[in-house]
Symmetry: C2
């Protein structure tokens, strides 16, 4: 089986996920890029921050908007290791993220290709281009190991 090297932003999102695991948080990481430049990174940290909204995507979106001084992240792309949940998909809409790349699918909590399917709703104000499955294997493996160690 030929293995293609993963794109640099997904490698960086996976590195963020690893840092989350090292802190005892569910390993999910995210990176926001614009024109090939990293604008922000984020990782899952609800326990450490006492913040139920502290998902990798929300952390990366908030940091990018603050860095750019604009609540709208026009032209930005979000790379994240797991399919976003309803909260994060909604934030992606509000932030006007142009392109979403994600690793593993999440049949239980995902809201892009599962459940609430936020971008497929007729009322959805903004639909990013969506590219699933990039880095799926290492992202899913990291999650499996994390939960196995905790059982």
């Amino acid at each position: 089986m030929t293995r293609w090297p993963l794109p640099e932003p997904m490698l960086q999102a996976l590195a963020e996920a690893r840092k989350a695991a090292d802190s005892g948080e569910v390993p999910i990481g995210a990176v926001i890029m614009r024109d090939g430049v990293v604008i922000s990174t984020g990782r899952n940290a609800p326990r450490a921050r006492h913040d139920p909204t502290s998902h990798a995507e929300i952390e990366a979106i908030r940091a990018a908007a603050l860095a750019l001084g604009n609540e709208r992240l026009d032209g930005c792309e979000l790379w994240v290791t797991l399919e976003p949940c309803a909260m994060c998909a909604g934030a992606i809409v509000h932030a006007r993220i142009a392109r979403l790349y994600y690793g593993a699918s999440d049949p239980k909590g995902g809201a892009v290709e599962h459940g609430a399917r936020v971008f497929d709703q007729p009322q959805c104000l903004h639909r990013p281009e969506v590219y699933p499955g990039i880095g799926e294997a290492p992202a899913a493996q990291m999650l499996r190991s994390f939960f196995q160690q905790r059982r």
Copy 2:
């Protein structure tokens, strides 16, 4: 027509919405209560904060979780002037909010009784009790005035 007095938490959420309007933000306000005590308040402030996730519900949830030192707001109720969007409904699930009271329905952006219907998804991990329509008239009137003045 008999008018019943609005419950105190909704009056406070409406006052938060008014503060948002006074700052030039879309007037939406929220309050989190537990056992009859105010834990936090929040208002819409995405422009001022350069934060697309700065909806009234998210601000109130983050403040309550920080105040209580716990990412889970078990036994808490959220009062908000408008039907929550997908992002905020997702945050309500993650925070394990016990009861949700909201004012006006939002056919365009709402995700409780419209669109993504986040709590109705089979995968939804936690469903709050939902009480819509409390304070609907003043909440909707404030939003209408705000958008009329801006046209």
